[in-house]
Amino acid sequence: MAAYLLKRVGLSIVTLFLLSIVVFYAGQVLPGDPGRFILGPLAAHSAVLTLDRQLGVERPLVDQYWTWISGFVHGNMGTSYEYQAPVEPYITSAAVQSLKLASVAFVIVVPLSILGGVVAALKAGGPIDRIISIGGLSGSTLPEFVSGIILLEIFAVAFHVLPATATSPMGSSVVTQLDHLILPAIPLVLVLFGYVSRMARAGTIEALASDYARTAALKGLRRSVVIRRHVLRNALLPTITVIATQMGYLIGGLVVVETLFNYQGIGSLVLGAVNSKDFPMLEAGVLLIGVVYMLATLLADISYSLLNPRIRLGGGE
């Protein structure tokens, strides 16, 4: 198993490396002249050239890439064009904010979708199953801003039950912060629910139809015992991997939800950077997102291989 994990970590690093190159290229090369961006269209040409030289635009790309990436690893993420200040504090605080929101969504969706998928599988073919399946699928393809708008209108505007923004006032208690985060978390939950519950359902159905489930039932075990002891652990194993890959959708959803609910998280930060062409900020944000996603998948792979005896212990006698 150690060999397998080592290989997985190695592959992740390779992908991360490729990712950083792509992000760097998109950020540095595509848009053109950074000096011009900073100083604006009316600045003197000579001033632009001076700034460019200062920024090191003349140097070979590989050099620029290396400076950037080594700086990044040491915590120096460059200087924002827009704020003329180090990118790092913006990114860190935004990351923390997003982490709070994502955690709330995560804590709600994981148990809910697993439960939904298992129940749908146990009642497969029946009305409950169809509702959960179609509902889940619809929820996951419903854009977050759509569900967000509808939720806002109902809970925040019509009934004033929950606050309309995600940002709680400075120094609020944990409870207040949570209160503000519930409404924005729901669209995220909806998007993730569909796919995860579908995987849980498929895994459970396959486990129910397996030979070992039959053996267990024919041993005389009670149905609930068969499900609890034999079916579930095999059914939910693949679902773990799926949860990790959903990180991508979760983060993408953050962009929309944070915009809609006025929340200074990494999503709205990146979007702002795109719109204001603040490339250092953009590169740092996107790379961070990529790192988080890779970590999540790696974690999922590790837990899967720990839990699956076939991989944990290798082959037979």
């Binding site: 592959l11 390779v14 992908t15 991360l16 490729l18 990712l19 998109a26 595509l30 848009p31 009642k123 497969a124 073919g125 169809r130 399946s133 179609i134 699928l137 619809s138 393809t141 419903l142 854009p143 977050e144 801003f145 759509v146 569900s147 708008i149 509808i150 806002l152 209108e153 925040a156 505007v157 019509a158 309309a164 159905i205 129910l208 139809a209 030979d211 489930a213 039959r214 039932a217 009670r222 149905r223 068969v226 079916v231 991508g248 959708y249 983060i251 993408g252 959803g253 962009v255 929309v256 915009t259 809609l260 979007l271 795109v274 719109n275 953009l282 996107v286 997102i289 990529g290 996603y293």
Partner: protein, 301 residues
């Protein structure tokens, strides 16, 4: 096989006799369409989609008002006889904008999905069939693209290239291709190990023939299901992009853009300007999923 429910007296695995009874081969297109037309989920979904298609194509002719016409004296007007869905901040009739707004989404999403499916299928075939180094290398590239959320990649490229219908189609299509390639690759891997592929090698058939004439027809069912599901996600992406300001430029009626333009006034109590476009999107999404569900259950039998 209808998945069975586990109970004390009900088994789930069918014995050999049942498998012989239930054995059915690939269905003819005619049986498939017949069965689809009998499925209520499919029909409801299809009806809604057809309605929106009609709006997209003919909307301008039957919308009650000109969707671009601003009436600065009647801005933010609530629901009334003249304006069934009220007016927005510029006094434009919301109902007409909703009707005509179907156009963008219904043009971009299917085309993008088609492009993505074609590309993804080709990619998946190549990766699955050749395996080895090709698979590993292309696989790494695919993983790289997938490491970033779809929305962020789409945002980056549309911002860089400028929002327009062709750009959106191409960007979304390219972003979907790796996801579809993954599914196709998995299906191809299964087929590749079957003996008819070995038999083709023993006849001297070359790789292109084997990929497209032998293997492709057998992986069409999952591709079809993937296609119908992806259209839902394409709608999702187009709407989100236009909400984020990267859709076709104003004043073109567009559901996502209209919501973005008008959501700041929700707290002022002007709920209709955003709710109706939101419901329109929701109805389309649900309809497409009903269709996808219908297709999947018919093909799975």
């Amino acid at each position: 096989m209808i998945p069975g429910r586990l109970s004390d007296t009900v088994g789930v695995i069918p014995p050999t006799e049942m498998r012989v009874l239930e054995a059915a081969g690939p269905k003819s297109p005619r049986t498939v369409s017949q069965q689809l037309l009998r499925s209520p989920t499919f029909l409801i979904g299809a009806a809604i989609v057809v309605f929106w298609i009609v709006c997209a194509v003919f909307g301008n002719s039957f919308a009650p008002h000109n969707p671009l016409a601003q009436q600065l004296l009647a801005t933010n007007a609530t629901l009334s006889g003249a304006h069934l869905f009220g007016t927005d901040q510029l006094g434009r009739d919301v109902l007409s904008r909703v009707i005509v707004g179907a156009h963008n989404i219904l043009v971009i999403a299917p085309m993008a999905t088609l492009l993505g499916t074609a590309l993804g299928t080709a990619l998946g075939l190549v990766m699955g069939y050749f395996g080895g180094t090709v698979d590993a290398v292309v696989g790494r590239l695919v993983e790289t693209v997938l490491a970033l959320p779809v929305i962020i990649v789409a945002v980056l490229f549309v911002r860089a290239l400028g929002p327009s219908i062709p750009t959106l189609v191409v960007v979304i299509g390219f972003v979907f291709a790796p996801l579809i390639a993954r599914t196709v690759r998995a299906a191809v891997l299964v087929e590749r190990d079957l003996d008819y592929v070995a038999a083709a090698h023993l006849r001297g058939d070359k790789a292109p023939h084997i990929m497209f004439v032998e293997i492709l027809p057998n992986v069409l069912p999952p591709i079809l299901v993937e296609f119908t599901v992806r259209i839902g996600y394409a709608i999702f992406t187009v709407a989100t992009l236009s909400f984020l300001g990267l859709g076709p430029p104003p004043p073109t009626p567009d559901w996502g853009a209209d919501i973005a333009a008008n959501y700041s006034v929700i707290s002022a109590g002007y709920w209709w300007e955003t709710l109706f476009p939101a419901l329109a999107i929701a109805s389309l999404v649900v309809a497409v999923n009903l269709i996808a569900d219908g297709v999947e259950s018919v093909l799975a039998q």
